[in-house]
């Protein structure tokens, strides 16, 4: 098999399956989506991530046809879909509440969409069988939705929305109602099914871990705008703004001003009377420009002595320790009150932990560990 990286978004010749073009959606005075432009490609597993009320559900409902954009255009495979009603779109949706029809059996729920077309009875039967097999529900075909468990209901909803082989499948918080263990297993199952069927998935979620796990690309949204669209790695390692850095995972943000130090290196002056931090940046900053240095806690080392080779090292006292089992997060207070979180993996048993409250410690990180952000 040819091992090419799946990255149609980097190929300018590739035509997107979905194109949002300057889409704005207003509900009365409220702007739900603000002049949004976005491309989603075929076979992508695309995640819309954001806090509640950021407009991600509105975007999904516009794709399904339950809302129409106030301004702008949404194209599906090059066609403007605004005039197409939901029942005529090659788009299916898996609802957050699953929306299974309580009066129909699992079999009939899955067959529901197929029966609306002019598909022959035998083909319907085959297709439903296929879907039952895909979602491992063969044993439950005759049951009603209230006779199966939450995880099984979730799979029925998925089977029903996939049965018509849509070009695009929309998933609205598909795993929200499942408990943590089941959710993890289901995430991998979703990815597996997406790969098997080759359908384009767009998932809406407020759970960043879920988005990072399943998606090929993630769009981080806030107040109707897309803050950044990138692969999970880039979102995490190279956030484009403080908002994105802060929304995904844990991060230390240090405010200051820059002083170029040549070759993409900058000094960050962060407090009076303290040595500046060193940071590498692809983005150019001018002398004295306000900036934020974002460093992930796991990239910060903690030690009793000053590490001799560290590019950035600063002394502080341990203020708090959060023990998470596999990890410990140390909150270290620097002179001037700035708090830095440093994370270490607990490779040893807790009794041999080297630091405790009020201990003076050194925190250190490299120049490339952090990201310099304008805003």
């Amino acid at each position: 098999m040819n091992q090419t990286v799946f990255a149609p978004w980097d190929d300018p010749a590739e035509k997107p399956l979905i194109r949002f073009e300057n889409v704005t959606k207003r509900f009365g005075e409220f702007v739900a989506i603000d002049d949004l432009t976005l491309d989603i490609f075929e076979k992508e597993f695309f995640a819309l991530l954001g806090p509640s009320g950021c407009g991600k559900t509105t975007m999904m409902r516009m794709l399904a046809g339950f809302e129409t954009p106030t301004e702008g255009r949404i194209e599906l495979a090059g066609q403007d879909i605004a005039p197409v009603p939901p029942n005529k779109r090659a788009v299916n949706m898996m609802f957050q509440s699953y929306a299974l029809f309580p009066h129909l059996s699992v079999y009939e729920n899955i067959a529901f969409g197929l029966r609306r077309g002019d598909m022959p009875k035998n083909d319907i039967d085959d297709r439903v069988g296929e879907m039952l097999k895909l979602t491992r529900l063969e044993k439950f075909a005759r049951r009603k939705p209230h006779q199966i468990s939450g995880g099984q209901r979730q799979r029925v909803a998925l089977a029903r929305s996939l049965a018509k082989a849509p070009k695009l499948l929309l998933l609205d918080e598909p795993l929200g109602a499942l408990d943590a263990k089941l959710r993890q297993a289901t995430q991998f199952e979703l990815m597996d099914i997406q790969e098997k069927t080759g359908t384009t998935f767009v998932i809406v979620t407020h759970d960043q871990e879920e988005a990072m796990t399943v998606a090929s690309r993630v769009a981080v949204m806030d107040e109707g705008r897309v803050m950044q669209v990138a692969t999970p790695e880039r979102i995490y390692e190279a956030p484009s703004s403080v908002y994105v850095a802060d929304f995904i995972g844990d991060v230390n943000i240090v405010g200051g001003s820059t002083k170029p130090a040549g070759a993409g290196q900058y000094h960050v002056h962060w407090a009076e009377g303290q040595a500046p931090f060193m940071a590498a940046s692809d983005r150019a900053f001018s002398d004295g420009q306000a900036c934020h240095l974002a460093v992930r806690p796991e990239k910060i080392a903690i030690s009793a002595e000053r590490p001799s080779d560290a590019e950035n090292a600063v002394q502080g006292t341990v203020l708090d320790i959060a023990y998470l089992g596999n990890l410990s997060t140390y909150h270290v207070e620097l002179p001037g009150g700035q708090i830095i979180k440093a994370q270490t993996a607990n490779t040893q048993r807790i009794s041999r932990r080297s630091f405790t409250w009020e201990d003076p410690v050194w925190v250190s990180w490299t120049a490339t560990a952090g990201v310099l952000l304008e805003q």
């Binding site: 399904a64 939901p86 957050q96 099984q152 018509k164």
Partner: protein
């Protein structure tokens, strides 16, 4: 288990006596041998026999049932449609006015409803009979149906309808295949409510009934004005019996359904 205190026993007895004593007396006197209603002269079922001979009562009973079935069916169709539009129709001009107006007949004095219907029927030259009673009963019971159905629709998960649309249904198909089967219990109870309202009604029926058709309540009322006959006691006892059987079987059915639902859900939780 708490034992009932004397206070609870007393209030229970008083309350139920208040509710049921009149009916008990009526039932007892329906088996009275004597023609005099207030004097007990031994057990007999002869009034039931005479009732079956009484053409006027039987005719009235038949008219009543016919009117009740027709008007409650019509009211259910119209009331459900109204409820659906008011709950689901989104915002349209005059929606608030409409939703207020649909409930107005609930509080309107029956005399006024009856009188205005009478004026209307005379105005358009409609002869009073079964048709006019059906129309009148539909008018006032329709709003009861729409109250029952719209309260069910308000708690109805809208995404079920959206799912049906998403899977290729037109809005009418979505209503017929998804919404209607799910709200069916509310629609049925709306029908039953309209049915009983129509059976009961005396005031509006007396405005809109004509010489060609009288309902049972009118018949009973006019008969009683000439003096209470044991025949009427017998008739009322039969009606009480029918209502009792209906209520008990309805509650048994709903109890059985909820038990089954509970059992299914427990079974699902175990296999999860």
């Amino acid at each position: 288990m708490n034992r009932l205190s004397w206070f609870n026993v007393t209030s229970l007895t008083l309350g139920f006596a208040f509710l049921y004593l009149p009916m008990v007396i009526l039932v007892i006197y329906s088996f009275n041998e004597s023609k005099l209603v207030t004097v007990w002269a031994g057990f007999s079922t002869k009034w039931y026999g005479e009732l079956l001979q009484n053409e006027a009562f039987l005719d009235a009973a038949w008219v009543t049932v016919k009117v009740a079935v027709l008007s409650s069916t019509l009211a259910t169709v119209l009331g459900t449609m109204a409820a659906y539009v008011l709950v689901r129709g989104g915002r349209f001009l005059g929606r608030t006015v409409f939703s207020g107006m649909i409930y107005a007949p609930l509080v309107m004095p029956e005399v006024i409803t009856g009188l205005s219907l009478l004026l209307l029927f005379i105005g358009i030259g409609l002869d009073r009979g079964v048709l006019t009673i059906v129309l009148a009963h539909t008018t006032f019971s329709m709003c009861y149906v729409s109250v029952v159905v719209s309260s069910r629709l308000m708690t109805f998960d809208r995404s079920l309808e959206e799912a049906a649309l998403d899977l290729g249904c037109s809005s009418f198909m979505a209503f017929r295949l998804v919404t209607l089967p799910i709200i069916a219990p509310a629609v049925i109870s709306g029908w039953l409510l309209a049915f009983t309202l129509s059976l009961d009604d005396l005031v509006i029926a007396s405005f809109t009934a004509g010489p060609s058709a009288t309902t049972l309540p009118i018949k009973i009322f006019s008969a009683v004005r000439l003096g209470v006959s044991p025949e009427i006691n017998a008739l009322s006892t039969i009606m009480i019996g029918i209502v009792t059987v209906g209520v008990i079987s309805a509650s048994l059915i709903s109890k059985r359904n909820s038990l089954r639902q509970q059992r299914d859900e427990q079974a699902a939780a175990r296999t999860a």
